[in-house]
């Protein structure tokens, strides 16, 4: 038996023993997503148990080094873990911007001190992070950001306003882009700094969305003191890190809805919602939509795999994350549009038991943001055209 096969068997056994049954059913609503943090909210005891068990093995961040609390798995092993989790429909134990975004940037650009300070609590789900990127006048044109960090010797004093800060009202720390130099090219003079949300002068204010929920905030920064030890990489060279971090954000958002083990296939969902007549979905036009979506989603999921395989082999083009983000989010929007049609009258209910308080309607509206957040679809197409196709 190969080492990988042994690892697979052991993983399977461990999951069978340690993944609670209630963590193997599709998520019912947003409360079923586990975010961790200083003041965590768990929808049930099993959710907490599942996170802690996985965190203890480092499998909330399977590929991070063991010395930083990670699982220390190589790419093949991590894939095996994903596959085995998918097989039993295990939910993701911990959702975290620390794992998906900040962590990879810290590992690549951060000092040893910063890594040791911040990575282990991320793995354990103890600290919840938020991202301070966009500003009221710096959306698609992110490099135009104006939040100012004044150099005070050992520390900075930060003043400005961030917007679309996901869950800033629930987060413990922020990774934040600030302007440390206003002369010269706008991409130069940006730094990435880390600070505790409890720092005096940090005020998050939730923004209510069309979906009724408030996953985003405006965050006001008034004379916020940030120690210079909390600068990631070099001062004034944060743009490179910001872009690297954005590629991770793009991959994360692009993966929504297609690689999520908790989701049923759209074909199955359609069959359950509309019924089957002589082997085919009862509504022919909707059947066409479902088929087109399933074909595209299958090809897309394989492409995400292929891009990962190529990256590992040192092939491929780096900007493909723009393609994954663009295509993945457009697919997710299509999926929810189709689900709305499949559910009929139930789909427009905003409250009530049958619709689980309008879960579908609210989720559908939320997907409209997928192709805006983390760089709009149009920005992704610009990146592809310029960086991959060489069109200027």
């Amino acid at each position: 038996m190969t080492d990988l096969q042994t690892f697979r068997n052991e993983t399977r056994e461990w999951l069978a023993e340690n993944c609670p049954a209630s963590m193997r059913v599709p998520m019912q609503n947003d409360n079923d997503t586990c975010w961790g943090g200083r003041n965590p909210t768990f929808s049930c005891e099993d959710q907490k148990l599942w996170m802690e068990r996985m965190a203890a093995k480092g499998w909330t961040a399977p590929m991070w080094a063991v010395e930083y609390g990670g699982g220390g798995l190589n790419r093949e092993e991590a894939k095996v873990l994903r596959e085995e989790m998918a097989k039993i429909k295990a939910r993701r134990p911990l959702n975290s911007f620390g794992i998906d975004m900040l962590g990879p940037a810290l590992i690549k650009f951060g000092s040893e001190e910063l890594k040791r300070q911040h990575l282990p609590p991320i793995v354990r789900g103890e600290i919840r992070w938020c991202q301070g990127y966009s500003e009221p006048n710096a959306g698609s044109d992110l490099a135009g950001l104006q939040t100012k960090a004044m150099d005070m010797g050992d520390y900075f004093i930060v003043n400005g306003q961030k917007v679309w800060t996901s869950y800033a009202d629930k987060a413990d720390w922020m990774f934040c882009l600030v302007r440390t130099d206003s002369d010269g090219k706008k991409q130069m003079g940006i730094s990435l700094v880390l600070f505790d949300m409890k720092t005096p002068g940090v005020t998050p204010k939730p923004i209510k969305l069309i979906s009724g929920s408030s996953p985003f905030c405006e965050t006001f920064l008034d004379d916020v003191k940030v120690d210079k030890s909390q600068v990631v990489g070099e001062i004034n060279h944060g743009w490179t890190i910001a872009k690297y971090l954005l590629t991770h954000e793009r991959e994360m958002i692009g993966g929504f809805g297609t690689r999520d083990a908790g989701f049923r296939s759209l074909g199955q969902y359609a069959a359950e919602s509309m019924g089957i007549k002589q082997g085919r979905l009862a509504n022919q036009l909707l059947r066409n939509d479902v088929i087109r979506w399933e074909i595209d989603a299958a090809a897309f999921a394989l492409t995400a795999d292929r891009v990962a395989d190529e990256a590992k082999a040192g092939q491929g083009v780096g900007a493909t994350s723009a393609m994954l983000k663009y295509y993945g989010t457009e697919l997710n929007k299509r999926r929810f549009e189709t689900m709305m049609k499949l559910k009929g009258g139930e789909a427009i209910e905003w409250e009530g038991e049958a619709s689980r308080d309008g879960w579908l309607a609210r989720s559908w509206l939320r997907t409209k943001g997928n192709s805006i957040e983390g760089g709009t679809s149009e920005v992704q197409l610009n990146i592809i055209a310029k960086n991959i196709l060489g069109l200027g």
Binding site: S265, G267, Q268, A270, A271, I276, G279, R280, L281, R287, N288, V290, I291, R292, E294, I295, D296, A298, A299, F300, L302, T303, D305, R306, D309, E310, K312, A313, Q315, T320, M323, Y326, Y327, E378, Q380, L381, N382, I384, A385, K386, I388, L389, G390, L391, G392
Partner: protein, 377 residues
């Protein structure tokens, strides 16, 4: 397996690139078209010399046993070059049928002959204007002299130049039944067979093959009597995965040529590739081709690995490539503007080859429907 081609497959791809550049550039396609000469001759001999007719033949029958991912590289490059040859009919479909359904004796006799180009095969399955592998009425009646075939096949690719035909015939049951279909190996010059060739939009041709009480020896039955559908279906999966590879070549070449044009053509004092209206369309188009690369590779490797999802993946691949080949060849003409409509520019050749390749053995609607039925809706 990983979704990356291995070194051997990479070498095959590069040698195919070199081969088509030298012996079958588009200018050669143009020359053949103008001369009205046949494509099954000189180029095919060169391909046989390259060993391509032996790629899928197992080593024990004198072949190379390289597998479908390897052969798919040749098909993709052939798609880029618009190179017509019996490679698909004989070395892919023909070899696969013999290999999957033939007896040991049939394999020993036929596979080496296909591998060294002595014979070429063509598959005759459809009888209506739409692909339907169970829509078979052509009858094969058992007589003391052999099976007597009566009926008509439409759209037989390479029917005019193949030495043997594989004919799907009905030995029992009704039109539309899976049961009762049998496969026969038939010499093209058997008395009672009439082959009429019709030129097609891609400057290739298809044949209508009529069987008027043509007698086929009993020993030319491939596989079991009445149980031919399973093998036929498996071969059609293989065929469609390779057609998807050819369509990927067509889509990629259309894209590459158009991208070059966007960087050369000036209007309003600028390269037209600097206009965002075209950049976004090009970027979307590129993204679609990236998806195609993945599904084509996966569907080919599924065949090599005996994946249980082979049929599903073949239908997804063919459907997706039908869609993107259509997008690609349409965008190619539109972005070339007026010159895209001229016969002088090569870009118009791609749309003409794409549509017959899309249609052959089932288009988007056929495979989308098939895929959905396989997955329960």
């Amino acid at each position: 397996m990983t979704l990356i081609i291995n070194e051997e497959q990479q070498m095959l791809k590069e040698s195919a690139q070199g081969f088509f550049a030298e012996f079958a550039p588009i200018s050669e396609f143009r020359r053949l078209r103008e001369g009205g000469s046949d494509y099954c001759d000189v180029l095919w001999k060169r391909m046989v010399d390259m060993g391509w007719a032996a790629i899928l033949v197992p080593e024990k029958y004198g072949g190379l046993g390289f597998g479908h991912v390897g052969m798919g590289q040749v098909m993709e490059q052939g798609g880029r070059a618009l190179a017509a040859s019996p490679l698909f009919s004989s070395a892919i479909v023909g070899v696969s049928i013999i290999n999957l359904t033939g007896s040991e004796k049939q394999k020993e006799t036929l596979l080496p002959q296909i591998a060294d180009g002595q014979i070429t095969l063509a598959l005759a399955v459809d009888e209506t204007r739409h692909h339907g592998p169970t829509d078979i009425a052509l009858s094969a009646l058992k007589t003391p002299d052999g099976f007597k075939l009566s009926g008509r096949k439409l759209g037989v690719v390479d029917g005019h130049c193949s030495t043997k035909l594989i004919v799907a015939a009905r030995t029992s049951g009704e039109f539309g039944d899976k049961e009762g279909i049998s496969l026969f190996l038939v010499d093209s010059n058997t008395p009672g067979i009439d082959i009429k060739t019709i030129p097609t939009v891609d400057s290739r041709s298809v044949s209508t093959v009529s069987f008027n009480d043509a007698i086929v020896p009993i020993e030319n039955l491939l596989g079991s009597e009445n149980g031919g559908f399973k093998g036929l279906s498996a071969v059609l999966d293989i065929a469609n995965a390779h057609l998807a590879a050819e369509l990927l070549g067509i889509a990629s070449e259309s894209f590459d040529r158009t991208l070059q044009y966007l960087k050369q053509r000036k209007q309003f004092g600028s390269f037209i590739g600097s206009f965002q209206a075209l950049q976004h369309r090009a970027a979307h188009w590129w993204s679609e081709i990236e998806l195609c690369k993945s599904i084509v590779l996966k569907s080919l490797s599924a065949i090599d690995e005996g994946d249980v999802r082979t049929s599903e993946l073949a239908s997804i691949a063919k459907a997706k490539l039908c869609e993107v080949a259509e997008l690609s060849t349409n965008e190619a003409i539109q972005m070339h503007g007026g010159v895209g409509m001229t016969d002088e520019y090569d870009i118009g050749f791609f749309i003409k080859r794409a549509r017959p390749a899309q249609m052959l053995f089932g288009d988007y609607s056929y495979h989308g429907d098939r895929f959905a039925l396989m997955t329960g809706y």
